[in-house]
Amino acid sequence: MTLTKRSLMLATVALAASLGAAAAQDAVKIVGVVELSGAGATAGTNYKNGAQLAVDEINAAGGILGKKIEFVVYDTQTNPGNTRAAVQRGVDEGAFAIFGPVFSGPIGASMQIAQKAGVPQIVGGEAAGLTKQGVTTLFRTSLNQADAMPKLANYFKDAVKASSVAVVWVNNDFGKGGRDAIIPELQKRGIKIAADIATESGQADFAADAIKVKNANADAVFVYLNEEESARFLRAIKQQGYDKPIVGETTLLGAKVIELAGAAAEGAKGHVGLSVDAPVAGFAEFGKKFQAKFNYKSDHNGIKGYSGMYMLKSVVEKTGKFDKEAFLKAAHGAVIKVKDVPGILIDSKWDDNGDVDRESFLAEVKGGKQVITGTLPPVNKF
């Protein structure tokens, strides 16, 4: 019994101590709240590493407005409750901005806290709903699904010339969001949905799903899964001798998937938001630096973290001070060009909802590499 009390007091003392630690005078604190374990570990680790790379570069070049960035990262375990706690902790610790998370569910759980505190939150999530809830502190680092899917639907109609499509998606907020966004777009273009197949996050055995896709006899299959699941699915469907077009969005054509799926990834094609293989000098440059530092190939989440950090730097420098309110004001509607800020990697515009707009690409896996076959303009010209 005494132990209960004692441990409790210890706990409070330790908490108080950890909360009391103030940021150093000449540094600006940015707290990363990222999925380092759980279902989002791959995406989160890439996001964190990308951001870390940018932080190191910025600090080496003298920081932002003369202040070094103190970048602290808390793991969310891909759990909304933990994400909330971590964002709250970041806010309490006086973070100038919160970086992350990447998965949309945890973003939804935590964005109110950043909103309440008026702290900018720069996230990697793509689910359409996030920027529709009037949260003024949220900024994306990649295309909204609602913007990406029409581009892909056009691709199905014009390039693949499919009249029916089987849709395979992962049953989490990312996959469901993509599925909910693409199906109406396909139907709008007169394309039939031949099969609508949900799979589990972390699923290992895709044999049944592959068999189902094959027997659906659609003209093409749309695969919207996380990286590892994409690779497993590709292997499973190739084992079934499937020979129709396999189309995906960003993840399916990512480096990790190609590495894991090996030959099974060959011929997969689709739309890519961000890619180190895109014919953009900045991306390739980033890809090299990332590879050199972390010894593996970055996926699109690495680019998100990296370019997001440069977006922050650019907007702060534009306002000329570390003022969150001014930041929020300046960031909405900000247009950042590569010629001014090389670290942004690709010309980008943030609108009033925090959505980002930029060019995107069509790609195909050829010879074990992602090859860009076309470039699509931004949704709205800027």
């Binding site: 209960t4 009390k5 108080a16 990262v73 375990q77 759990n79 909304p80 309490d92 939804g108």
Partner: protein, 342 residues
Amino acid sequence: MTPPSPLSRLDLNLLVLLLGAAILWFVPAGMKSYGIYVISFWLVMSIAAMGLNLTLGYAGLKSLAQAAFLGIGAYTTALMTAKGGIAGPVWSWPLAFLASGALTFLAGILLGFPALRVKFHYLAFVTLAFATLMFLIFRNEQWLTGGVYGFPNIPRPTLFGVKLLNDLAFFRFLLVVTLALSVAMWWLLRSPWGRAFMALRENPLRAASLGVNLRSYTLLAFAIGAGYGGFAGALYAPMVEFIDPAPFAISASFVLLLTVVVGGQGYFLGPFLGAAFSYVLPEMLRVTGGYYLLVYAALVLALLLVSPQGLLGLVEKLRERRRVKAAQAMRDASKVMLEARP
């Protein structure tokens, strides 16, 4: 000099409980939101663990569904209190709280029926199946639960016309509810029911031969334990203000089970200690970076190897050893005196 029985120790436990609540009322005053959030989270999970402690620790029924009950309570409360909720604004939370408890109580009875037929670890698998099904329902039935997108904007309760928006106010409200639920549990355990639950765990055969209705008490142990899970859920939802299926998955039920065992199953204060271990410690271990789950698991394993009865079991063991040592010293001393005599 034998150690006190778990039931006779209860009176002392109540004292600790009241004292602890009094201290906790003031402790977070200087804390920031994060600290208050962590302590609030600890209280909520303590309630859920308290329920499981009744089912598992006192009545000996292995359940892997406590997080599912937490989820049922959380979604019920979310549905009833969020915009367009069923009840009116002032009464909405208290009603939702009662409804969450009642619904999980009924679910507990339902789940208790297999418990009457099934023995040992099989029961754990039946509850596992139930918990999996509940998780899938939370996730798949988007029209009801918001599915994978989650359920946003769950309001904080209103008390005496004041909305508990402030974290400290909400924490104190939480503390009062926790205290009330703990005292109710305390009363239950010291009543003849508590004795019957323990009899159920220690020796169901003998209990039956003494007229203890195994069926009623088994169902009750399940249902009340589940009800506490529901109550905890009714607090969890407004605390987090957003819920999605993840915190109610199977792994969360596992962690709750670990919580009860680590704290000391069948000890009244075990759930509080266990929840501190499972939910507060990891927050403190964040400094270890990505390794804290590893550290946590290693600590649990080490603890179980040293003391399968959990932390409070360890405390009792140490105290017992000291007692034996003292008695031995006394005997030695008297022996010396005897021998010293000519």
